[in-house]
Every structure is written in C-alpha cells, then in structure tokens.
Symmetry: C2
Subunit: 346 residues, 2 copies
Amino acid sequence: MTKKYHVAVLGATGAVGEQMIRTLERRNFPVEQLTLLSSARSAGKEITAFGKTHIVKEAKPDSFEHVDIALFSAGGSISKQFAPEAVKRGAVVVDNTSAFRMDKGTPLVVPEVNEADIKEHQGIIANPNCSTIQMVAALEPIRQKFGLTKIIVSTYQAVSGAGAQAIEELRTQNEAYLKGEELIANILPCGSDKKHYPLAYNAIPQIDKFTPNGYTFEEMKMINETKKIMHDDSLQVAATCVRIPVDMGHSESVYIEVEASGVTVEEIRNVFVNAPGVILQDNPDEQLYPMASTAKGKFEVFVGRIRKDLNEDRGFHLWIVSDNLLKGAAWNSVQIAESLIQLKLV
Amino acid sequence: MTKKYHVAVLGATGAVGEQMIRTLERRNFPVEQLTLLSSARSAGKEITAFGKTHIVKEAKPDSFEHVDIALFSAGGSISKQFAPEAVKRGAVVVDNTSAFRMDKGTPLVVPEVNEADIKEHQGIIANPNCSTIQMVAALEPIRQKFGLTKIIVSTYQAVSGAGAQAIEELRTQNEAYLKGEELIANILPCGSDKKHYPLAYNAIPQIDKFTPNGYTFEEMKMINETKKIMHDDSLQVAATCVRIPVDMGHSESVYIEVEASGVTVEEIRNVFVNAPGVILQDNPDEQLYPMASTAKGKFEVFVGRIRKDLNEDRGFHLWIVSDNLLKGAAWNSVQIAESLIQLKLV
C-alpha cells in the first residue's frame, strides 16, 4: 500500500490555492487528510475536494500539527508568519510566495531543472515566480546541450497572476468597455501600490512595485531566481515584465545566447523532443506556435517561434507559454511535493 | 495667402483612411479640395470632413487628375495599381502600404528621422510600418547622441493595425467571452492566412504571414525598414511581433546597445527633452510610464521604463508606445505631406 500524507493548503480560497486543490486531485496525490486554511476573512467557506466537502479553517500555528506537506500561497507575510510554525511541527513547507526564495538555506526548485536541490531543504522549499518557472523549464534543455550565457525576456503576463480580485476587475472593465462606460481600476497593476490603471484594452509595463534601480520586483525576481535555479551567477539575465488583458497563461518573448557556436534552429528544436515537461509547438507553415489560449489548463510549458538571430551566430529567439496558475504555481508546488515523496524526504 | 492643395485619400473608409481625414482636419491642413476614394464595394458612403459631406467615389486612374497630394492606405495591391496612375497625373503619393517601401527609388520616411530623404522622391514616398515608425522616432535621438549598434524588440500590437473588421472581431469575441460563449475567429491573426485564432484574452505571436526564414513579414519589415530609415545596414535589428487584445496603441519592449560606453540612464532621458515628436514619461516613483490607453488619440511617441542593462554597459531597456493609427500611419503620412509643402516639393 502506498503511503498517504496529511496535506495542508494555506490560501485555499485564492486563485492559486484553488488550483493547488484541483492539481492534487488531477494527480491523484496520495492524500490521507486534507486541511484547507485561509485568513480569518475567508474561513468558513466550503470547498469540495476529493469528493468531500471541506470547511476552510482560519490558519493558526497549531493548524499544522501532524501535517506532512504544507502548500503555502497566501502572500509573503503570511508565509513568514506560519512557515516556521509548520516546520517546527514537522511539516515540509512548499512556499509559493517570494518570502524565502532568495534565502541561502532555502532550495528554489523547478523539478525539471534542479530537483536535486530539494535534498538540501531545512523545512522550506520555495516555489519560484511564475514567469521564472516557465522560462527556466524551457531553457534548461538548451543550457544542458549548448550552454547558456545570456537571456533577455519580455513578458506578456495574465491577470490571474495578480489574484482572483484582479481577474474580476478585468472582467468588469471589459463589460464597461463594451457598454461605452468608464473603466474603473482599484487593484492593477499592483494592489499595494499608489496608482491603479485599467488593464482592459491596455498593456501595463509594471508588475509588482518598483525597486530603487528602476526595475520592478517582478523583473528582479526573474533575474535573481533564474541565476539561483540554474546555479550560474555569471548568467546574464534581463527582464521587462508587462501585464496584458489575458485571464490565464503567461507568454514570453525570449532572446538567448548559447555558449556553443554554429548551432542550428533544428538542433535547438531537437533538444525538446524528450525534454521533461516541455512541448514543442513550432511549425510556421501550419501557423503552429504556443498561445495562452491553448496552454490554459495544461501542466506543460510550450515552446515555439524558434528562430536564429540574423546577426548573432549564438543568438536565438523563442516564444514560451504556460498556464501561470499551473506550471507557474500550483502544479510546480505539487510537483515539488511529488519529488519529496519520490526522494523519500517526507 | 497660403497655397492650398487638392488632396486625395485612397482607402477613405478604412481604419487608417478615417484617421487620415481626421488628422488633416486636426492639423488644419491647407486643403483646397478633398477627394475621398475607395474600392467599388465601399463607394457611395458619406463622410463628413472639414464641415462638408463628401461622397466616397470608386478609385479609377482618372480620379487622380489635378490631385496634388494622394494619401494611400487601401492595401498593397491597390497601391501598386493606382500609385503609378496618380504619379503620371502629377500627384505626389504618400503610400501607407508595404508596396514600395523597400524600393531603391522610394524614400521611406519618418520626418523626425530622415525628412531630407523626401527630396529624393520620384513621385512616391513610402510611409513605414506602424511598429517601425514609433521605434525609430524614439531611438533616433539616442542614435544621434550616442550611436546605435543593436536593437532587439518585442511588440505588443493593437488590433486596429489589422483593420476595422479585426477591431470588430475582437469586440465580438469579448462579448462572447463575457457570456461564456465560444469565441469565433475569421480574420486574426492575418486575414489572408489559413488559420484564425481568437485574440480576446490571448496573445498571438504572428502578425502578417510567415517568410521562409521563420520570421513573419511584420518582423522582417521592422528589421529592414529600420536599417533603411536610419541609413545603417550594419545596425543589428531583431524583432518578435505579437498581437494582443488592445484596440489602439502599439507598445514595444526594446533592448538597445549604444556605441558610446559609460552612458547613464539620466543621459538617455535627457536626449528626449527637446526631441521632436517624442515625449518622455518615465518616473517609477510616480508609476509614470507610457501605456496604450494614455497614448490613444495622440500624435506623439511616448518613451519610458528606461533602464540600464545590469550586465552590458552599453545596453539599455526602453518601453515605447504610440497610437498605431496616428503616428504609426495617418499622422506620419500627413506629416510627410506637410514636409512636402515646407520643402516646397509640391
């Protein structure tokens, strides 16, 4: 008989939390007991999972008694408050916030890239930023075969990355647009920032707040997390992060330079034939390329529009798309939990 | 008394044609007589311009008799058919299609960059691609001061670039989405291509058809036109062109490398203080940056999010936005017409 686990989901009523529960179901995860947790505000809600109705409880330190695996996605400050409590009680925390990602003792893991890092965990394993995950998953097979020296990425990010309220805000704006009414913005681009702009029929070049160097936190996450996951501080990474009026699915226009010279587009395409978790969708003659609309609901990362740069022999352009709530969040977290089981770390 | 001109607009009922007429009005262009032309299908429509009702006539070779300036925006094949006829009859044609852009004898003009090229015209002056225009207008002041060696651009293009029917298709898809109905696509990404995909809540990495090298025509236009306008064949240009669900306003995430070393962000910002037709919107503390929603209806090109690359001393990132139907099409065409008058070439 397979061992079964007591799994807790903190942030169960959020956009990512909901997908974590659905992903546990889709993967038929060996759940012995499921504990759904949230803030006091959302506690009491009912959620059906694994055929049973669960009542969401307010998270407290002793909520984590006897929990084996805790999936956190309730914001950075909540993670900082509860992750130590959960670890103290013997749980392994897979944290989807940015609270611990860059901490020296915390592995930052995309299983297709650095699964072995999980072994170093001291109770917390961090799930990277959504935009980072799909990019490194797609680039890792190229890096392994041809080396990788430079990444310049521009993102086309879905509103679901900003949470359930932001999804609703975009919908309301679209309704207003169609009626010829004024578009109201209270959340986007960033709930905790001063100004808000309509996203409907717009593109907003701000995700998260600005850091003092003029880059946003989202951009700096992509830069720093990529280096940490790929274990390469010399890797040159630049990012411009942009929100567009899409509900699900982040797209990325990525320019890379490989270490090897003389590599062909066909050779780049070939690295994806057996790449774990990555699907090649690249046939211009058939207008086949990844899109947010076709990646929605899928666990994989999709890669296409692979072209050699017309000037740089070592330069290539790619278009990378994935469901930001799944591979970008819920699925990557559950995948880490599956790795924990497979590596007998839980 | 100022001299006045007989101006013809070919494609008067299209999305760009309509803006050409409004732009002539907004600029109080010295129009003696206005002739509005279209295909047989759209002929007979009434359009009010300069306070008078005009009936749109079917374009025929002799429609251009006594015309001084003809603004063309009715598709490449129509331009190929009628531009020689108009020129034969003494008109100067400002052509907004790709029909003549790369021809050796045809100046390809963005007045802020290469107004003097107009003097070389042999009857036809080409208006560049919308995505190219705003990019070169914004980069020219940088190039003049610090030199320019490399451009890598990813675009976020509005649906209006694909015409009035595509605007309507996106609206219909948004309505269907809100009702939970299936999204129907018959035009986008490219009316003349085989397959069509919904743009609502999506990002489509295809604009125009694919060329044999895996780049789209839109991408190759940006690459080739930029070199021609800037008179620099050694300039390295790469482009990824993407359609997003925005009605008006193209946005561009642009990475550049300048020739000079040690240039600061402040120095880059300063080149825009007196740059013609370009407005700097760049203050992270105030969340000030260009957006499609705020560029809509404006003639200028807006630049912000200027950051120095964290690795390349000569590398900078910028975010460039402009109304694709105005500076990207109608206004640039009218601006060329104004230059023709100012240079006494008409």
